[in-house]
């Protein structure tokens, strides 16, 4: 029986329940000392002078690392330490001391003179005539004919006049695309909805703050850090430290959550490594929750406007979308562009125009957060689709079924195609599981002070990449060793993806060993564990390596027992054919004797050099399967989750309880049912937090954050979610993955968020408040007919 599709207990679970699992802060080294960071108290400043003499003179202080001692990135890149901090909480320097208390006291003894610089926390404030720029070089980044360019963009006062009419100002964008004839598509519409919609920025806040420990031994750096993607974090960190990859050992066996904030290592890790090198002692840098809020990344917020045209029957004819992205001070996230493409994908309008601009602000740095761009836009637009459905008298499920794409649909500026889309199947499976027919009747029902709202959120996201390597060895103990360079976020992909190889060979899971999380253990070139890539990319890579291994086993059996290679079959640890049968253990021994390609002494030409180095180190230990994923991958791979929610809204208090939730996926073949349920539910719960409670509050006068802890940023607790949640899956194989699997990490966040924003609008009688998070005060103001507690485009409030 195939392992794919079965529930398994992942190989790391006993370590997790006994406390033996070691996360970065759990490692110790002989002579280990502690570091603390000096963080900027200002949103934008320049260091005029720093006097560290009092700190260095303190007993127990071992050294200080300054910005000029760490690699400085070119603008608009981010460096681990800086003398021009661009947000409150940005690290300026680090101190190492024999105890953490001494290090903290030393930070207090540093005399620092900062020159305040202009700052902004609101993109529109920066776009206004004469408005401040978050960076000295400008307020946006464009990719034009001259390549990457930092620019200062200001709109005119007339651009801002729309504010008085309750509409987002929309000056000249830096990004624009369209398809179809927008004007005539709006002419075709029988009904138009239009609104200004605000989506907040929020911190990822994984449970494990990004602490790290490092030491050097004989010129080699050993770094223990939290990462989503071991092999890629290794490569990235070696690059940051200007080290040959062979001189860095990166250990990250367990990652206490990342959600996009720890994709390939954090800049902060290089502080630990460089400070350890400077003082020649192992250094532990513990990151507090408070610091995590600043340096731990956040999701970009949107100030946006949309107009959507509908035919009488519910078909969407035209969409005009404008997004201003609030981006923090560094880099450039593609969230706003992705949101445009996803809008076109999920609603399939005859014509669409997207316009957008990303603006730097002096707020914590942004990074991809689970479903970047998609998770924001679906929560913003789905309540508007409800509004149109209500006004047109169409069932809300029917309007979505009508507009979603199928496998032949095209989308986005380049009219890209999909590998396949089975969204209607997923909608139907979810509606059935949830009981849409009955539960949609609860809409508007009043019970005491509580009104019931029912919502749906359709959420697509990219579900897989390709072209990575698989690396397998069967050793003379007869076991299959699956080497994985992806991380261990608890999605179980580091275990589950190996099942594609085991299935090719007909092996039981007990005969498989997964090797992961430590780059000294010879890991192959891998995808980042982000963007729902791994379940797709690494089932493919392991399938490829499994086929290579199977071929070698067959050839070894034929050479040993006679007959042709392809007349041999592999099953349950044996290769059997016309000449009899040998065990995998015997074949592994034989491979060592034969050498060459069988034991990894001769390697394929097309594998990545990282894989070549790892395979070379593993050669001669058994029979090796090693291959690049060269399977066809025609079209974009998208997965979908449709969220169905019931909420109870208390009209006296404005409180909202989510009492029922079902998530239904189109993610190809179900790789691991229980883990799929966990991804759908867990992502949706993150979406609940986004829809309801998680936000930033920044003082507009001083640029100082107030919501810098968990209780002020309020992720959902166990009492904020339904007592029991359900899931379903369409289960249609993806045509462009030989094992039919698509990734599923991203789309549930948008589904959960959108189902809740949709359900709250439903409970309010179809009123779209067009803003997240829908906190109790916002809802209560609406219920009581008061002015909302915020201005139209106001953010971080």
């Amino acid at each position: 029986m195939a392992l794919i599709g079965q529930d398994i207990s992942p190989p790391d679970l006993v370590a997790k329940v006994t406390g033996r699992a070691k996360y970065a802060e759990d490692f110790r080294a002989e002579g280990m000392v502690f570091a603390k960071l000096l963080l900027s108290p200002m949103p934008h400043a320049r260091v005029r002078k720093i006097d560290v003499s009092r700190a260095l003179a303190m007993e127990g202080v071992l050294g200080i690392l300054r910005a000029d001692e760490v690699p400085q990135a070119d603008a608009p890149g981010e460096s681990a330490l800086t003398d021009e901090p661009k947000y409150v909480g940005e690290p300026i320097l680090a101190v190492a001391a024999i105890t953490e208390t001494i290090a903290a006291d030393a930070i207090e003894a540093i005399d620092i003179d900062l020159e305040p610089l202009p700052f902004t926390i609101d993109p529109l404030a920066s776009l206004a005539p004469g408005g401040p720029n978050a960076r000295l070089e400008g307020n946006t980044l464009t990719f034009g004919e001259r390549g990457r360019e930092l620019k200062s963009v200001k709109w005119t006062s007339s651009d801002f006049e729309s504010l008085s009419e309750g509409r987002l100002p929309m000056g000249e964008p830096t990004d624009e695309w369209s398809h179809g004839d927008l004007d005539s598509a709006f002419d075709d519409a029988d009904h138009v909805v239009e609104d200004t919609i605000i989506h907040q920025s929020l911190t990822h806040h994984p449970m494990e703050p990004r602490s790290s420990m490092a030491y050097w031994d004989n010129g080699k750096c050993y770094l223990y850090a939290s990462t989503q993607s071991t092999q890629r974090a290794h490569a990235g960190t070696a690059n940051q430290l200007d080290l040959d990859p062979s001189d860095l050992v990166f250990v990250g066996q367990y990652c206490g959550g990342g959600f996009g904030s720890k994709i390939a290592g954090s800049p902060i890790n290089s502080i630990t490594a460089l400070l350890a090198k400077k003082i020649q002692r192992p250094v532990m840098l513990r990151i507090t929750r408070y610091e995590e809020n600043y340096i731990g990344r956040g999701r970009p917020g949107f100030q946006s406007w949309v107009r959507m045209g509908f035919r009488k029957d519910g078909k969407i004819t035209a969409i005009d979308l404008y997004i201003i992205q609030d981006h923090g001070p560094y880099g450039r996230s593609g969230d706003y562009n992705t949101a445009g493409a996803i809008t076109d994908l999920m609603y399939q309008p005859d014509a669409m125009r997207f316009r957008g601009i990303t603006i730097y602000t002096n707020t914590p740095p942004r990074a991809a957060m689970r479903g970047p761009g998609g998770a924001q836009i679906v929560a913003m637009l789905e309540p508007l689709v409800d509004k149109a459905a209500r006004e047109l008298g169409i069932d809300r499920l029917a309007i979505r079924r009508m507009n979603v794409p199928d496998s032949d649909s095209r989308f986005g500026p380049n009219r890209g195609q999909l590998t396949g889309a089975f969204v209607r199947e997923a909608i139907d499976a979810g509606a059935d599981k949830f009981g849409w027919a009955e539960k949609s009747q609860l809409s508007g029902q009043r019970n005491g002070t509580k009104v019931t709202g029912v919502g749906i959120g359709v959420s697509p996201y990219v579900g897989g990449s390709s072209g990575f390597d698989g690396l397998l060895v069967i050793r003379p103990d007869g076991k299959l060793y699956i080497h994985h360079g992806i991380g261990n976020l608890g999605t179980h992909s580091m275990a589950d993806c190996g099942r594609a190889a085991a299935d090719v060979l007909g092996l039981e899971w007990e005969d498989c060993q997964v090797i992961w999380g430590d780059t000294s253990q010879n890991l192959p070139y891998s995808s980042v564990q982000a963007g729902s890539q791994t379940a797709h990319a690494h089932t493919r890579a392991n399938h490829a390596a499994g086929l290579d291994l199977k071929q070698k086993l067959q050839e070894i059996a034929a050479a040993t027992l006679g007959g042709s290679a392809n007349s041999y079959r592999t099953s349950r640890g044996r290769v059997s054919g016309p000449g009899g049968s040998i065990s995998f253990a015997q074949a592994a021994q034989r491979a060592i004797e034969l050498g060459g390609k069988y034991s990894g002494e001769v390697l394929p030409d097309d594998i990545n050099q990282v894989t070549t180095a790892s395979a070379t180190a593993l050669s001669g230990q058994g029979v090796m399967g090693v291959a690049k994923d060269n399977f066809s991958h025609d079209g974009s791979t998208y997965s979908w989750v449709i969220g169905f929610a019931v909420v109870e809204l208390d009209v006296e208090t404005g409180d909202v309880q989510i009492v029922d939730y079902t998530g239904s996926a189109d993610c190809g073949v179900v790789l691991h049912p229980r883990s799929l349920g966990a991804q759908i539910h867990g992502g949706s719960v993150q979406g609940f937090g986004q829809a309801r409670s998680q936000k930033w509050v920044l003082d507009p006068k001083w640029g100082v954050p107030f919501s810098h802890r968990l209780y002020t940023a309020r992720p959902p607790g166990i009492l904020d979610v339904p007592l029991k949640m359900e899931w379903a899956a369409a289960g249609v194989p993806d045509p462009e993955n030989p094992v039919g699997i698509k990734g599923i990490g991203e789309p549930p966040v948008g589904a959960g968020s959108a189902a809740v924003t949709s359900a709250i609008a439903d409970a309010l009688g179809g009123k779209c408040l067009c803003r997240t998070p829908l906190t109790t005060d916002v809802i209560l103001a609406e219920l009581q007919g008061r002015q909302p507690p915020h201005q139209l485009t106001e953010i971080h409030i």
Binding site: S9, A21, E25, S40, T101, T120, M207, S675, G677, L719
Partner: protein, 212 residues
């Protein structure tokens, strides 16, 4: 005044460092990493300050064993467990009683070990995640239930949740799902795996009933 105008008006004027810091202090949000560590009070005399920062040898009862350890007066139990006793299973997620990752059981009651001073638990029975397994390696019924349900994702919160589940199953032989949720509401899971965590808790209660 619109939300746009406010920051424009206030940020173009420029501030001196002095007014800036005054403003920040007034809002109570100054950034200082040492705010997060216990330290000797400024008001103490020199001799008192020395005394208050000297380590003191105490004996703790941890997982049924008597452990002697040098502690500082301001030291939290989480730090003692993790940095003095090698018990790194207890996690620090926030260090401020917000997340529950550091939950341990003291005399049968769950506590956030980040918010318990070690010197206050000298005569108390402390149980951590490492103390649940039998010496022969048999998992505690709660641990077994989590394994059988495939509970948790990143699992950084797992040790804290599991300690809360142990306290729950010790106190309630047959909790409802709602009672289980109430008992676990002091623990945060950012992966949002609450459905599977509750499944694990209900199975744990079932296993605990069988072993009684």
């Amino acid at each position: 005044m619109s939300g746009v105008e406010t920051p424009v008006a206030s940020t173009t004027s420029g501030h001196s460092r002095r007014t800036f810091i005054k403003g920040v202090v007034a809002t109570g949000a100054a950034v200082s990493s040492s705010n997060y560590l216990f330290r000797a009070s400024e008001g103490l005399s020199a001799s008192e300050r020395v005394r208050s920062t000297l380590p003191q040898l105490v004996t703790l009862s941890v997982n049924g064993q008597s452990r002697s350890v040098d502690i500082l007066p301001q030291e939290t139990l989480a730090m003692t467990l993790r940095y003095k006793l090698g018990l790194t299973g207890t996690k620090l997620g926030c260090d401020r009683a917000e997340c529950g990752a550091c939950t341990v059981i003291i005399d049968g009651v769950t506590h956030y070990s980040c918010s318990v001073l070690t010197k206050t638990v000298r005569d108390r029975a402390i149980t951590t995640i490492e103390g649940l397994e039998s010496p022969d390696g048999t998992l505690h019924p709660v641990q077994q239930a989590v394994v059988d349900e495939g509970g948790f994702q990143c699992a950084f919160c797992a040790p804290g949740f599991i300690m809360s589940m142990v306290a729950l199953t010790n106190d309630h032989s047959n909790p409802t799902r709602e009672e289980a949720a109430q008992a676990l509401s002091g623990n945060l899971c950012r992966c949002g795996d609450y459905n599977k965590i509750l499944n694990s808790a209900m199975r744990a209660a079932e296993y605990a009933r069988r072993t009684v």
